[in-house]
């Protein structure tokens, strides 16, 4: 379900992409929680999701878990790439 797409952390580019397209909440959040430690400290995870609940729940999860929500970017085919930086 996930594939690394590069290692360029200087630009905040994701080092891991979690494909949660078509999955309903809480599954995208569960996948994020399970895999965020797969990137190094300061690394960025991109969650691809199209459940509207994920759009608000990923930033809320980041706040609760003290990670950083960097931004959410619309995908051409619908849904968003929601970027999260691992802080600890």
């Amino acid at each position: 379900m996930s594939r690394p797409i590069g290692t360029d952390r200087q630009q905040g580019a994701p080092t891991l992409t979690i494909d949660a397209l078509g999955r309903k909440c809480p599954i995208p959040i569960i996948m994020l929680a399970q895999q965020i430690n797969h990137v190094p400290l300061g690394g960025v995870v991109a969650v691809l999701a199209d459940d509207p609940a994920a759009f608000s729940d990923v930033p809320a999860w980041c706040r609760l878990k003290s990670h950083t929500h960097l931004g959410s970017y619309e995908l051409p085919g619908g849904g968003w790439a929601i970027h999260v930086r691992r802080n600890y």
Binding site: K24, C25, P26, I30, A33, Q34, D51, P52, S56
Partner: protein
């Protein structure tokens, strides 16, 4: 079954039940006619109106009965906008209002009007300064604000909003659906709406109060019922029962609020201690006495409600999987809090501490099991 969904509908108050049964026999005739049965129905309707007006501290001729709280809001919003068309077409609302307000606002926009939706804090409280600034914009016809939020219980800054509206010469519609019969209505509004089944009356009765001097014009075709403000034959027995319930609730309010509020405090305190990864949302202090909402991370709201139902708890949720629209609650979204795994506990009149204790016992292992089944390790 422990019923914890009073914010959706309060069970019928025993005094309302008595009044309803009596009025079914005594108040069935057309209150607009002149014969004896009709005069009796008219008298029952007038007495109910006087009773409700007395509890709300308004004049009976300012108050009409609608067929629901939603209809009261639609008529209040659209009728005030219609009457103020020359003043402007700008409507101000809070972001976490009941969907009836937001849908009326959409209808206004579709009709060429403009709408400012004022955001809320993390606790769901409308930003009073932003609300005042929006109201002061030229061409503002109406502002709308609820007394308390129906999903998280947070009280809204109604008095501050009313002062801003008075300064700008803009009428304020206050949706008091969650607090009538529980809390006094803050002063300063021009239109007030409520719903009888939220205070222990029967469904099918709403109230719309339009203060003397407030301009209002029906957005619907002309009809002579309810001072020309609400179309259709009055449901006199239900109105009589609604008035009896409101009177009873107002008398019991102090005791019921104390009981419910202490139990809400208990839930607010214990749920995050008993369950890891829970966010309790809404204002802990400035809140309606009977509502508490929290979200359990990594849990599907639908699974949680189904399990709670099996365990004997009737509870609702703002999670998208429990909504017919499959969208998360606009309230939780606007607050920026977790929307999945959401549970809204709203305590009815007479709720027992034993039921709340059992809920606090049942919930933690249930959440743990659902998380384990989803492959989440705590």
């Amino acid at each position: 079954m422990a019923y914890f969904d009073a914010a959706s509908s309060e069970p019928l108050h025993p005094r309302a039940r008595e009044a309803l049964l009596a009025a079914l026999d005594a108040g069935w005739a057309d209150p607009a006619r002149l014969y004896g049965e009709a005069r009796r129905a008219r008298m029952l309707l007038d007495r109910a109106r006087a009773d409700v007006a007395d509890v709300l501290g308004v004049r009976p001729d300012e108050l009409v009965f609608t067929s629901s709280g939603t209809q009261a809001i639609h008529l209040g919003v659209l009728g005030a906008l219609a009457a103020r068309r020359r003043a402007g077409r700008h409507l101000v609302t809070g972001a976490v209002e009941h969907s009836a307000v937001l849908h009326a606002a959409q209808a206004h926009e579709a009709d060429g009007g403009t709408v400012t939706t004022v955001g809320v804090s993390r606790t769901g409280r409308v930003d009073a300064a932003a609300f005042a600034a929006a109201v002061a914009e030229p061409g503002t016809a109406l502002a709308c604000l609820q007394t308390a939020n129906h999903e998280v219980g947070t009280l809204q800054p109604v008095e501050e909003a009313a002062r801003a509206c008075a300064a700008a010469g803009v009428p304020l519609l206050v949706d008091a659906a969650q607090t009538l019969g529980r809390l006094p209505v803050p002063p300063g509004w021009s239109l007030l709406t409520g719903s009888a089944h939220k205070w222990g009356g029967p469904a099918g009765v709403g109230v719309l109060v339009i203060r003397k001097g407030t301009r209002w014009r029906s957005p619907l075709p002309e009809d002579e019922r309810e001072r020309g403000r609400v179309p259709g034959f009055e449901n006199v027995p239900a109105v009589v029962a609604a008035a009896a319930a409101l009177r009873a609730r107002a008398e019991e309010a102090e005791e019921e609020n104390r009981r419910a509020s202490a139990l809400v405090d208990r839930i607010r305190e214990l749920v995050p201690r008993l369950i890891p990864d829970v966010e309790v949302v809404g204002d802990p202090v400035d809140r309606a006495p009977h509502i508490v909402t929290f979200s359990c991370l990594y849990v599907a709201g639908e699974a949680l409600l189904t399990e709670l139902d099996k365990a004997g708890f009737a509870i609702s949720s703002g999670s998208s999987c429990t909504a017919s629209t499959l969208r998360p609650s606009h309230v939780l979204e606007a607050m920026g809090v977790i929307t999945h795994g959401n549970v809204r506990v709203s305590l009815p009149r007479g709720v027992s501490a034993a039921d709340v204790d059992r809920f606090l016992q049942v919930l933690p292992p249930l959440v743990r099991r659902i998380r384990e089944e989803a492959g989440v390790m705590s």
